[in-house]
């Protein structure tokens, strides 16, 4: 069959390019998702922190909140392809012709863009944690920071993992728009290969399957991690069940 032969030829002839494309796509998507999550955590914590009693800090906090809100709206409200052009060429414009290295630019753009989505995901995650968790921590004297680090964030991370996985998968696909500034991810190489072999359909079919293999593998992998994080359903009884060592004998039904 002609189609299969063409595909085979593409794989054999262009595997270095395809491999480099897959590698860069994964690298940008992974780094961008992790950095985006960090941005999300940072902004989420800032936005949900109680306002300080100190007027200076209070004002600063409010300004910071406003900046974050503007950032989130702008980066969620415009296409990443346009953001890539504006940031990349904006830098060139501002520095009179200097350009950023392409791969770092790609990572930067995906990070900032993902960060805007993660900011909302994390904020929702923090808000949805029961107030009792905060109060339990406060009642034993833990500070807001300690409460966040030890009690809230671990629960938030577990709860938002499905949404984070989703962002990762979206990023694998959406890095393709970075070809507008010439980042050498998978879609960029597809264009190069097509211009050499004139087999547009066959080339993009190969690339399509490669994208799917990446996203499907990641989805399965993260599902597995999710299940692991669910924790064990069982626990080991420590010592003997009869709790003969208990200093207080529990008298049932006593009022």
């Amino acid at each position: 069959m002609a189609f299969l032969r063409d595909v085979y030829t593409i794989l054999v002839e262009y595997y270095p390019q395809l491999l480099a494309g897959v590698k860069n796509t994964l690298l940008i998507a992974l780094t961008g998702t992790v950095a985006g999550l960090l941005i999300g955590l940072l902004t989420g914590v800032v936005r949900t922190a109680p306002l300080s009693g100190n007027p200076m800090l209070r004002a600063l906090h409010k300004i910071l909140n406003a900046i974050i809100a503007v950032y989130v709206e702008i980066f969620r409200g415009t296409p990443m392809m346009v953001q890539a052009m504006v940031i990349y060429w904006g830098y060139a414009f501002a520095t009179q012709g200097n350009t950023l290295a392409l791969l770092p630019s790609g990572i930067l753009i995906v990070s900032i863009n993902t960060g805007a989505y993660m900011a909302e995901i994390v904020r929702g995650g923090i808000i949805s944690i029961d107030r009792g968790q905060f109060e339990g921590a406060m009642s034993i004297g833990m500070s807001h920071t300690q409460t966040m680090l030890r009690v809230i964030i671990p629960q938030v991370l577990r709860n938002i993992l499905p949404a984070v996985s989703n962002e990762f998968v979206i990023n694998i696909k959406d890095t393709s728009v970075l070809n507008v500034i010439g980042v050498t991810e998978l879609y960029y190489f597809a264009g190069i290969i097509k211009r050499q072999n004139f087999q547009t359909f066959q080339t993009y079919m190969v690339v399509c399957v490669l994208y799917f293999i990446m996203t499907f593998t990641i989805t399965c992998l993260l599902r597995f991690v999710e299940r692991k994080l669910e924790g064990k359903d069982t626990y080991t009884i420590f010592g003997s069940q009869s709790s003969s060592k208990a200093q207080i004998q529990i008298r049932n039904g006593e009022g």
Partner: protein, 247 residues
């Protein structure tokens, strides 16, 4: 006498918007005492406890801890909260930690106790409430009564001077109420200072040294359990108690 009080409330007031929930509350808790607070739903019992622990900010009046104003500038709130424990109706155990970790985290973060020591202390109190077998269980794997006993151990592990209880058995099935009350009874007998909001009249009558009856944001009547339960003076108290006895 007054200066010996661990906790003293002077003209405490709390409003939520224009809803005056606490009006001029005056009371004191002395070392070794078990004080019970009873009263109808909505009378402000929880709000009062939450003010003491500074989960709510009072609108007026003072809260003194060993004579020190807990709202004063420079007052060390974290230290204070570590010394005044709180047990909630809804347990509020940390869901991401085992029973043991729940009882360790406060010691480590707030009191700077090292892990080994924190673990020993946590074990000591978990044993005390009969929860040693379940130290590796997460809250979602425990029954309500077991969760509340862990929550008590978590508070005790901070080695507080006073323990505040806000209806610790109200969220529990009847057969689990007993196990939690037994723990509290034992703590009272050991001389732990406790301030207990409760609907368990038998507990208030048999265990406490002092009973406070709250109605509409004020202390309507207070006294020894014998005084309050056998010969209440106020009409409101009589009504409240008779309604409870009928149930």
């Amino acid at each position: 006498m007054a200066k010996d009080a661990i906790i003293q409330l002077e003209h405490l007031q709390k409003q939520f918007g224009n809803n005056a929930v606490l009006n001029d509350i005056n009371m004191a808790v002395y070392p070794g005492q078990t004080v019970s607070i009873i009263g109808a739903s909505g009378s402000g019992k929880s709000t009062m406890l939450r003010c003491i622990n500074r989960l709510e900010t009072p609108s007026g009046g003072r809260i003194l801890f060993h004579g020190q104003d807990v709202q004063a500038r420079g007052f060390k709130l974290a230290d204070y909260r570590a010394r005044v424990g709180m047990v909630f109706q809804s347990f509020n155990l940390f869901n991401n930690m085992t029973a043991l970790e729940n009882c360790m985290v406060g010691q480590i973060t707030v009191q700077g106790v090292n892990r080994q020591q924190a673990k020993e202390r946590a074990m000591q109190y978990l044993r005390k409430v009969g929860m040693e077998p379940y130290i590796h269980a997460k809250p979602r794997q425990l029954s309500g009564g077991q969760k509340q006993r862990v929550a008590i151990a978590r508070a005790l592990a901070m080695q507080p001077e006073v323990l505040l209880f806000d209806e610790p058995t109200s969220a529990l099935d009847p057969q689990m109420v007993g196990e939690v009350l037994a723990v509290m009874r034992a703590l009272a007998e050991e001389g732990l200072t406790m301030l207990v909001v409760t609907h368990e009249m038998a507990f208030a009558r048999d265990v406490s040294d002092h009973v406070i009856f709250m109605a509409d944001g004020v202390i309507a009547e207070e006294g020894t359990p014998a005084q309050l339960f056998e010969s209440p003076r106020e009409e409101k108290t009589k009504q409240f108690l008779s309604r409870f006895l009928q149930q």
